[in-house]
Symmetry: C2
Subunit: 449 residues, 2 copies
Amino acid sequence: MSATSSRITGVHTYDIRFPTSREHDGSDAMNPDPDYSAAYLVLRTDAGDGVEGHGFTFTIGRGNDVQVAAIDALRRHVVGRRVEEVCGDPGSLHRDLVGDSQLRWLGPEKGVMHMAIGAVVNAVWDLAAKRAGKPLWKLLADASPEWLVSQVDFRYIDDAISPDDALALLRARADGRVEGERVLLERGYPAYTTSPGWLGYADDKLVRLAREAVGQGFGQIKLKVGADLADDVRRCRLAREAVGPGVRIAIDANQRWGVREAVEWVGALAESDPYWIEEPTSPDDILGHAAIRRAVAPVKVATGEHAHNRIVFKQLLQAEAIDVLQIDAARVGGVNENLAILLLAAKFGVPVCPHAGGVGLCELVQHLSMFDFVAVSGTTRDRVIEYVDHLHGHFVDPVRIRDGHYTAPTAPGFSAAMRPEAIATYTYPGGAFWAADLATRQEQQGMTA
Amino acid sequence: MSATSSRITGVHTYDIRFPTSREHDGSDAMNPDPDYSAAYLVLRTDAGDGVEGHGFTFTIGRGNDVQVAAIDALRRHVVGRRVEEVCGDPGSLHRDLVGDSQLRWLGPEKGVMHMAIGAVVNAVWDLAAKRAGKPLWKLLADASPEWLVSQVDFRYIDDAISPDDALALLRARADGRVEGERVLLERGYPAYTTSPGWLGYADDKLVRLAREAVGQGFGQIKLKVGADLADDVRRCRLAREAVGPGVRIAIDANQRWGVREAVEWVGALAESDPYWIEEPTSPDDILGHAAIRRAVAPVKVATGEHAHNRIVFKQLLQAEAIDVLQIDAARVGGVNENLAILLLAAKFGVPVCPHAGGVGLCELVQHLSMFDFVAVSGTTRDRVIEYVDHLHGHFVDPVRIRDGHYTAPTAPGFSAAMRPEAIATYTYPGGAFWAADLATRQEQQGMTA
């Protein structure tokens, strides 16, 4: 089969779940017992080169099967497409998926169906980058401003940024790309770590991990807050004592509060000099975030990991509701929609500090921030990518952290591929881990019956 | 099994699809070929009385299977619950469903998972009303203000309406309930009709149906717009000529435009004196709706059928973005969340004109407006429920329209139950209609092969 006539032949889906709830890893005020999971897909082609596209939606356990069903529902748009066309213009697939007139009713552009679109679109970008022999960040950074703008859907955001605005932003940065890439490869991209701060951790573990983080070169850590005010006051003090005055401490309420409660609670924690308050309230409450921001300054307001599309980000910026914009690589409609969001952030001059962690979110999102540094914003000032040291070993090309920085990936692709043995072990419920787990439970039930 | 110890024993789900796309019924600028569908569920109990609870999510075809999978994912929260407890306090189930810490990640409170919650919650309300021997509107209208307030989740909206605010609104109306119920039973609730205005209809059909609507006593009709401006100008003129100056003409763009385009397009149609412009842009664009409203006055702005939860409605009201609030019975988290939205609308003094049509949306939403009239707003001034004359025959207790008004249902329940023969015929893909359809297609393919 020649390269020009090859087609996508299959969308293979997997319900992959890791039993993270048993260690309280990832516990926060709204998510006490997450089982980090991925609704995972593999695109196969008849090109004969063995190159596949991998993508996924991150979930925290129950409902991962619903997410897989949503990806399955998109198969008809993907199978049969010409590989060269779809890899040369992922935006055309993105628009077809978002525009499916019947599936659109299930959103539009939000929730399960939109995350499924993101997983499929990201798998195409993985395939495209592998075929180009480049890591995704470099594929994007090498692209022309015109082509990048062609990949963005400006529907519903052109009152805030026009294609011409976007083109001007990208062209203004074009001359700096070569030097930007050199700096990136030399220094990497700054990270902060959430590993010390999970709510389920005891105080001594928090203090130990916070000190270790500073020793490892991180300039910022993050603590989960929002379950109990007295606990939060104590934990923030302990963390501040552990890291000293020069390290930033972000706090994250994971949507726990209403507007008034957020203002009061952050006020009570201000003594420990938090750098930002993340997700103080519902991700849908744009005006609420704006009210909180006005009230808690100089503490900054950050949100975005649950902002469901570019239209929400547009309004967060228009309403001056956030100081820090947190993209997520696997919640919105994939790379194309994240290009729109990065351009919006650049237009409004708001720094982007991605959400990561979970399953593979660090692997994906590093590419977007690195592209942003090389080709859009041109700076890492006040910009950090979240880092959580969970589950990276299950990936073929895991993130590498050095001196508190993500090192730039060099392998072709989007770093999305999981190792085959991880898929075989953690596919739910038939993989080796879950099958054994189920057998153990049945045995225990038999003993107590 | 005694009534007090009976439990919910099963959540039975059905993927039901009607082939409406073949007649262009329901066609609009964003949805050219909908196959009106329902992800449908039946709650069964061991009470031995044969009473069931029915509920559904409306979709327009593809993805109805994903919606069914989402309802299935909620089964573990429902099966085994005591019937008396859950029917006496549906709010407890509503909070458990919305609060599931793992499923929450798939929203939160939006899209496929949230619509599934709405379907399950509405089925419980159907069960509760049947057990009480009352139509749902009367179950609600007879309830105490304190109990009604206990059914509302004020999380993320208490900066706009507090429980005390809600209690005061309901108490202020308490004395008027008896008279309100008398008026409702005598006159019914005003309706408007969308039947003339589908985009796929020829001009002569539009004119004929518009005249018929006036003859049937409707004081308002609605036209779909947004595909082609010249067509819209012509169709609006034809409709205005057909109905005369005294009948309101609403226009509905089904999210077709960006902010600037909406302002220009509505400006061009203003000569035909449209009453409201519905869904001019993305349902997520609160600030966009506010900008459009400021620009197109005195044409009113209406939206809500795709507003995904009470937090979006709160902001539409806070931002003064809408003149008309359009609830939908089956998109948000069921009756409980719609109680929150009705109370918000009352607090802000904005009239509620529900979205209906589709499959069974008229049947459901009439109960909410009738409750609102009797126990909350106390008026039908500038309030109309959408009416579309499709698919009612498939329901056990279909809506009845008389002189342009919905007559108040008297049968116990939420009018949600479909006739068993409709379920058997239109279940996809195994029901009698679809099985025969598939056989015909295969035969045709065989002939052309």
